[in-house]
Structure formats: C-alpha cells, structure tokens
C-alpha cells in the first residue's frame, strides 16, 4: 500500500468526487478525515471506508468559516496525530446567467471554491510545517484552463484555484510542502445533474471527449494517490488535466470533410 503512513483530510468528501478520492486514498492505506458540510453524508462515507477495512473519521466542516476549519484540523490531529495530505475538494457551482448574477451570488461561489481552499490550506499547512512537509491537492476544473459558456462565476473561482496553487507551491516549497491541482472534465455528480442529466446535452458533451466518455469520481483517485504519495516528492505547482483529452483540442472535425 502506497499511502500506509499518510493521514489525509478530504473536504467535500460526503459525496461525488470527494467521496471517490477519499475512498481511493483509504484503499492505499491512508487514514482519512472525511469532511463535509453535510455531516450525514460524511458519516456514511467514513463508515463505508471502515467497513472495507480502512481508517476514517467523519467531520462536519464549513470551509468558509475559519473556526470550523480549525476545528476540523484539531479533530484530525486528535484522531490521527498528524496531517500529511490535504485534498481541497469542497466546491459549488453557479448556474445563474451572467447578467443576473448578483454580488452575493458571485461571492458565495468564490467563498467556497477559492476562499475555502485558502482557509483550509493555511490551517493545514501550519501543521505540515511542523511535521516537516506534506502534500496539498486542490480540485480545480477544466474551467481553470478555459472559459465555459455562462459559467463565468465558476470559472473565475477555479482559475483562482489554479494560480493559488502555483503561488503557494513557490511559497511553501521551502517547508517541503507540495501543492498541486487537478483539472477534471465533466463528471456526473450532484453538481452536474442539472446539465448532464439532459441526455441530448450529455451525448453532445461526450462526443467532444476524445476518450468518448464522461469521467467518474473513481478516475480522480489515481492522480490523487500519486500526488499524495512520495512518488511525486519533486512535483509541485503542477495542474494535471484529467478529462479524457477534452482540453487538448477539438475531438471532432469542426466541419465535415469529404
């Protein structure tokens, strides 16, 4: 097992991508603090990990609240004595069109996706400095690398996550703390139910993916295990695309050729 000596916090781990990542880290031996604003979901995921022989605790956290974040860090330390790995997965999307987006709506998304990532990274990095290092993995998005129609607020927050990752990597390298991001393509979860739930839309999105299928939360586990493990001990500041080739270019000929 590649993460036998690791202790990870995964935020947003109550469902969707965070759940897939938490399970993946636990499978490789990491002890996992499954943290989510929906406590019941976190409990179910932690129980599932324990039932398959892994180590996990469930924690309620609101990543936008510094006190709540500190509580999560303290509870993880109380349970597992250290924190070696952080996955900032908690996130929200806004589907309100640009001209109807209020300042409050914009801030709601930035608060969770960007400010939340900052708050958790800062609180956990303080522990990692004392522990002599660690690995922080931020879940960005394809929307950190290119725009998406009527997802202005979301893309802005995820673009912020990407450059936050790079700047933090440069800043925390001296403490042997590595900071990397992943940029997933569309994955069917609660967040995307509104868009991918429409079969016509889903088929059109799938046709634009070179590997011909949408991603799954399990697809994200491998790269997170890699970033969490010492195999990537010289990797920091990177953003890994994990999108079936979506960002690489046009999957289909834009104009039918003879």
């Amino acid at each position: 097992m590649r993460l036998a000596d690791k202790v990870a916090i995964v935020t947003g781990a109550g469902r969707g991508n965070g759940r897939g990542i938490a399970r993946g880290l636990a499978r490789e031996g990491a002890a996992v603090a499954v943290a989510d604003i929906i406590e019941e979901n976190a409990r179910k995921v932690a129980r599932g990990i324990e039932d398959s022989g892994g180590r996990a605790i469930a924690l309620k956290v609101d990543v936008t609240d510094p006190q709540s974040v500190q509580g999560m860090v303290d509870a993880t330390l109380a349970a597992f004595s250290t924190i070696t790995t952080l996955v900032n997965d908690a996130g929200v999307i806004s589907r309100i069109p640009f001209f109807e987006t209020t300042k409050e709506e914009f801030q709601r998304v930035v608060d969770v996706n960007l400010t939340g990532t900052f708050l958790v990274a800062q609180a956990v990095a303080r522990v990692m400095v004392k522990a002599g290092g660690g690995s922080i993995i931020n879940i960005a998005s394809q929307g950190a690398e290119r725009g998406a129609y009527e997802l202005v607020t979301y893309c802005a927050s995820k673009g912020g996550v990407k450059t936050f990752t790079m700047a933090l990597a440069v800043t925390l390298g001296q403490y042997n703390i590595r900071v990397n991001a992943i940029a997933p393509g569309p994955i069917p979860t609660d967040m995307t139910a509104a868009s991918l739930g429409d079969p016509v839309r889903r088929a059109s999105i799938e046709a634009g993916i070179p590997l011909g299928r949408l991603g799954t939360p399990e697809d994200l586990a491998g790269i997170c295990v890699y970033y969490a493990s010492d195999e990537s001990s010289w990797v920091t500041g990177s953003t890994m695309w994990i999108d079936g080739g979506g960002l690489a270019g046009l999957a289909r000929a834009p104009i039918a050729r003879k």
Binding site: M166, Y226, S232, W234, S238, G245, A251
Partner: protein, 267 residues
Amino acid sequence: MRLKDKAALVTGATAGLGQSIAEAFAREGAAVLVTGRDAARGEAVVEGIRSSGGRARFRRLDVTAEEEVEAAVAATVDEWGRLDVVVNNAGYYGPASMRPLAELPVAEWDRVIQVNLRGPFLVCRAAIPAMIRQGGGAIVSIASIRAIHCSHNLPAYTASKAALIQMTKSIALDYGAQNIRANAILPGVHDTPGGQQSYTDREEYLRRIASLTPLGRIGHPSGIAYAAVFLASDEAAYITGATLVVDGGRIAGEYRPHRSGPSTRRA
C-alpha cells in the same frame, strides 16, 4: 504490480532518465524492450533488471533510423505478443546546439529536430497500429519544462519539445476512440549524464539549481520513472492529451527567497 502483463518499449534507455524508467517499469511487472545506441550499456541495464527478477531485452535503436524503429516495434510484439506502452525518452540538446538562433548551424537544428521530434513521430507511427490491433495502449513522451518555459540559448531544443507536446495532443485526439492515450512529462533539471555535460564544478552546480528550485534540490531520475509508471498504468485511464510537470516547482512562479526572504517564516 501496476504494469503487470504489459509490454513496453523505452527509447534512449541505456542511461539517465530512460534507464530509470525502464527499471521502474520492470519492477511494476512490465516486460521492457530497453533500446538505445550503446549496446554495452543497454545489456548492462537489462542484466540489472533480470537480476532483480524483471523481464527485459536490449535492442539497438537509433530513433532517427526509420527501419530500426519499425524493427524494434515488431521485435517487441514478436517477443511478448503485444506492445502496450511506448516511452519517447531519447533526446538531444548537445552543447553545440546551445546558442542563440542566428549562430546555430543548420545541421545542429536538424539534428535536434531529428532526435526530439522526428524520432518520437517515427516511434508512434510504428507503434500505433500494433496498439490498435490489441485494443489500446499508452504513449508517454518526455518533453521538458523548456517546452513551455523558455531558457537562453536553446532555440532548437525548446521548439522541438514544444512540438513534441502538440504532437502528443494530436495523437490523443486522433486515437482516443481506439483507446490509445498519449501524455507528456515535462522534467525540470535532473541529475543525469546528459545534464552533467553542462557544468564543471558539480557542488557549485547543485547549489545553484537548489537555490532556483522551491523544493530546494535537483530532480532524481526516479521521480520521472514514477510519473511515467503512473501515466502508463490503468490508474491514468482517463488522462490523455495532458502534461505532467515534474520540476520541484521551478516554473510555477518566481522564487526569490534570497531577495525577499522567506515570507511565511511565522508559520
């Protein structure tokens, strides 16, 4: 074992990063065709792999020679019945090519492009049909951080590595439907025989690299080997057309602690 039952071909595998990749692949269960131009070194790499219980063979391969490339691909399929992974590692940035563009001899430009771009083209061109026949495969190309973050006196090298990335993406788009994945690793400065050509005082060189690198040390070839294992393995099944930077944080941003002092001292 993460590459169990897979057969792999690694170019330029007789030393440096390529050797490390070949050894890691064999440890993870792959059968490896170790290729390169130096038979004595190649046989030694194979001997090392076999003595630790791995499967490997050496075959002479200059990636600029079209027939040799095709024969090497055929030899892998003959030997192990398949070809699952190709690593385009052979590369050239020789001292003679390290100068500004107007001073670069045309023959040097041609040489760099031949090895770094035309070589991987030939290898992929020969390997892809074999991969399609067996239902898929993975291509891992070793580019460089210099493909996206330029440096002085490297016009041919940076151009060749940038082109290699775009060729990799092109393969990802064109062969995704056949379940062939293609990705690139962008190494930063690693301690290899190739890198050692660029200094005389080793201690001073290592100090200088460390001072420029957020993680404070030069790269070890094993880091590239682990990255290649990951991208070649089924754990990366949904990753294609992507790049993985392995550089200690060098190109993530400006790193000047010697100028501004560590800003986060009060952690």
